[in-house]
Amino acid sequence: MASVATDDQILFESLLRLGDDSLILGQRLGEWCGHAPSVEVDLSLANMGLDLIGQATHFLNTAGAAEGKGRDGDALAFRRDVLDFRNCWLVEQPNGDFAQTMARQFLFSTWQEMLFGHLEGSSDETIAAIAAKAVKEVRYHAELAAEWVIRLGDGTEESRRRMAAGLDWHWRFVPELFEMDAIAAAAAERGIGADVAAFRDDYDVRIRAILAEATLDAPADQRPILGGRRGHHGEHLGHILAVMQYLPRTYPDATW
């Protein structure tokens, strides 16, 4: 694919991946609004969700401009179907309980912080600028999630069981984060994207250090689930889009 993809297509696909990760996880966190275990946690989750939606807005607006077909961030968010989404599997996973949500956040935000750290040096000025702003938000997400992994893992018998189950659920979606397919390789080669495979070891060290503090064992490795970057998604993404896209599709161009 890299051999036939133009620079604009590589840029467009790279921006979709970044934007869709943030968009779908932001939407997921929004589902907690009004349902969190306490008002303080409700605000934490909503704050993170809004940070992610803000990132998605920047990435997808930029993607629309790179595509050059007149689509803006809203058009990309609300008028694409499941097969056209390029997010990883991890972000579309269900919230489950609070422990499962925090396990997902911990695994994703730790990765996203490292990714954005690399993208600050992107040869694409817009990606570099978005990453430089967002990396501070994501550092906070990663720290907050790690704190909860530690407290629930090294907490009561029940909180420990729930955190272990949450990590176990999400573990098989981690390898996808480090997949270097033709698009990712072409983007890295051009200096637009990051060589994610290069920081896999650092990621594992960080994850295992927090798990050790949480007195939890890393889950056993499972058969990795891949394909989100090529539009292969689980049963969950369609349901997320049905909720997220219902209003703009039913009332096109509605404003409020």
Binding site: S38, S44, R151
Partner: protein, 94 residues
Amino acid sequence: MSKDWPLWEVFVRAKSGMSHRHVGSVHAPDAQIALRHARDTYTRRMEGVSLWVVPSASIAASDPGDDAANFEPALDKIYRHPTFYDIPDGITHI
């Protein structure tokens, strides 16, 4: 969940050089999470540059029943305010 957590009083410094001011309280299981909750609850709109949290149970408060004994005697002692005193003409550096 939150009803099982202790209460923490939150103090925010609005900008460098100002003192921390009490802004409210949060529930949290420990000090570190209390700081996170305080950040997410009270500094989302650029309200501060520094946060303190203090366990509410650590605050000793005056008894409202003792208000009369505590505070009323100060009411009629206007000589404790600097404005009570006339400054003689010719006094500088004051």
